[in-house]
Amino acid sequence: MARPTDEQRREMLVDMVTARVQSQRTWNLQRQGQVGTMAPIEGHEATVVGAVHALDPGHDWVLPQYREPIALRRYGPEILEHVMLYNIGHPAGGHIPAPIRVLPYQISLATQIPHAVGLAWGLTLQDDPGVVLVFFGDGSSSEGDFYEAGNLAGVLGAPVIFLCVNNQWAISTPVHRQTAAESFAAKAAAFGFPGVQVDGNDVDAVYDAVQTARERALAGQGPTLIEAVVYRLGPHTTADDPTRYVPAEEIEAAQGRDPVLRLCAELEEAGLWDDAVQAEVEAAALTALDAAFEAAKSTPLATDAMLDHCYTEDTQRLARQRAGLLAGAGHSGVGPDGVVGSHA
């Protein structure tokens, strides 16, 4: 069993507390109408942080769904600015600067899973000694993409780790209506590689499972499916009202298993954490978030930014649309002069 060191556990708790506090602040910003719909992290912290701490950011890739990016601090502080740009709806929110080996938010559920397989396969073709870890939810596991990707990965023996974050819900749909399988880990039998279930509130267990999977992958033994069992402690997103469907007893019980409080208590007991540290970490988290938010808001936005990065070079038509947009009137029809909407 690969056990994180005390120092690592402390760092992990810093990341977990940071993620939670930043997620909560973002929630408040949404309530004030300053950012768009967001999906809070509460309950997922140990899983995301434990997993990425078992990886080597210099070599290993992380492909998130949409709940994880705020907890990927270990991959670089720049990610927080990406998160805030994304949250305010700025086009640059999709850009995570090289060489950070993280892909942006994925909204089309499960589509990132075959990407992970292709990327892992690509690494082996280039003799790049990295692995790819892809996050996805219990709900997303019902998409064909998950299965097609798992099956392909099995055949290729690609160095990929499938991390299913089972938080018991896909919006209002509980896991027992998501699948009749014994567990999400059990689905690995369809692909011919190991599937393991871990307590996703136990950061050490997640760390260990990912470490083990990573070593297998690097040794050429192929993929692993890990199911991290957690509980979504907040609403699905800022647009959701879970009181309509989450049983009160269930959420109360889950709060008793809160992954942040759990690690906090353990580290306090071990003399590695106290209220002062907690306060310091929280303050730093908020400062960083506020800075990222300000930086995001002051990121320039050209009038025609939304037309950039679609094609390497604008097509003839897009160039005319751009000219029309810049001419100030949107493009309401294309004239032979290449200027559109300029009659307005």
Binding site: T173, Q178, R244, H331
Partner: protein
């Protein structure tokens, strides 16, 4: 008559059709216990029970594919896709199976399937939640494409769609759910598929539009009326079947045409409308037809989306443009 928003009108129609025909079943992600993420299916689960209102696993392909099987069994599935952008996940079932069940089986089976999905921008959604795919779907023979613009039509067209023995993509403007309100006839209300509606009269220019663009075209028409222009607005209501007669009549009367849509310009249904105008009424045209549309890039993020969607000013500018021309 009761004043309702589009969401309420849709919900009322679903209740009425489930009441009327017990072969109607509703399925999709989060449609039952929580009544849909927008509450379009609110109350159905409580009223009609878990056999007829079903939360499925998160698989658009299976939702649509199972609907084909339900139709073979003689049921009348009303499937919900949470957002039209995720129809891509089910395109092989929509275009390859739903659209062809009758054709493949030479009418042994009817494909009496309605697939509801919200689409269109304006409410700051994440990626693929606002995309306008109706132009792509219109190229799939066998499907009917229904695109209501008012609360009353949402009710009346949905009822007709569910009763139609052919498959219907029933596309609901996301911005209209709460943003469009209007008087809706009480009780049974049916609007036939394939008949366009004159949303504003006028003989100077006609703006041909559908879904939320109709609302914007009407606003543009109202503004331009203050300048003394009589801008007709033709609400297509369904893209397939397309009301060729109404298009010809409007173009023949006005002679100048603007087509407004949210989709990217290239390959959007607007091109089909222009081609139709040319085929039906070329000799009536007094100016080139102008398309107002989205841009040839993916539907963008929140901070810039208002620049992407044609608004009433862009529609008005296009109207002036077709009038400016000799």
């Amino acid at each position: 008559m009761t004043e309702l928003n589009m969401l309420e009108a849709i919900n009322e129609s679903l209740h009425a059709e489930m009441e009327r025909d017990d072969r109607v079943v509703v399925l999709g992600e989060d449609v039952a216990r929580t009544g849909g993420v927008f509450r379009a299916t609110e109350g159905l689960f409580e009223k009609f029970g878990e056999r007829r209102v079903v939360d499925t696993p998160l698989s658009e392909g299976a939702i649509v594919g199972a609907s084909v099987g339900l139709a073979v069994a003689g049921l009348v599935p009303v499937a919900e896709l949470q957002f039209l952008g995720f129809a891509y996940q089910a395109m092989h079932q929509i275009a390859g199976q739903v659209a062809r069940l009758r054709y493949r089986t030479q009418s042994r089976f009817e494909s009496a399937i309605t697939i509801r999905a919200p689409f269109g921008g304006g409410v700051r959604t994440p990626e693929l939640h606002s995309d306008s795919l109706e132009g792509q779907l219109a190229n799939v023979p066998g499907l009917k494409i229904v695109v209501p613009a008012t609360a009353a039509d949402a009710k009346g067209l949905l009822a007709s769609s569910i009763r139609d023995p052919d498959p219907v993509m029933f596309l609901e403007p996301l911005r209209g759910y709460r943003g469009i309100r209007g008087d809706v006839p009480d009780g049974e209300h049916l609007v036939p598929l394939g008949s366009a509606r004159t949303a504003r009269p006028g003989d100077d220019v006609v703006v041909i539009a559908w879904s939320h663009q109709v609302e914007l075209a009407c606003r543009a028409s109202d503004h331009l009326a203050e300048e003394g222009l009589a801008v007709r607005v033709l609400d297509l209501r369904s893209l397939v079947p397309l009301d060729l007669t109404a298009i010809a009549e409007a173009v023949d009367s006005c002679g100048r045409v603007v087509v407004a849509e949210e989709s990217p310009q290239t390959g959007g249904f607007g091109g089909e409308v222009v081609a139709t105008v040319v085929e039906e009424s070329f000799w009536s045209l007094e100016a080139p037809v102008v398309r107002v549309s989205g841009f040839d890039v993916p539907y963008p993020v929140g901070m810039v989306e208002d620049r992407y969607i044609p608004d009433e000013d862009r529609i008005a500018a296009a109207v002036r443009r077709v009038l400016d021309v000799a």
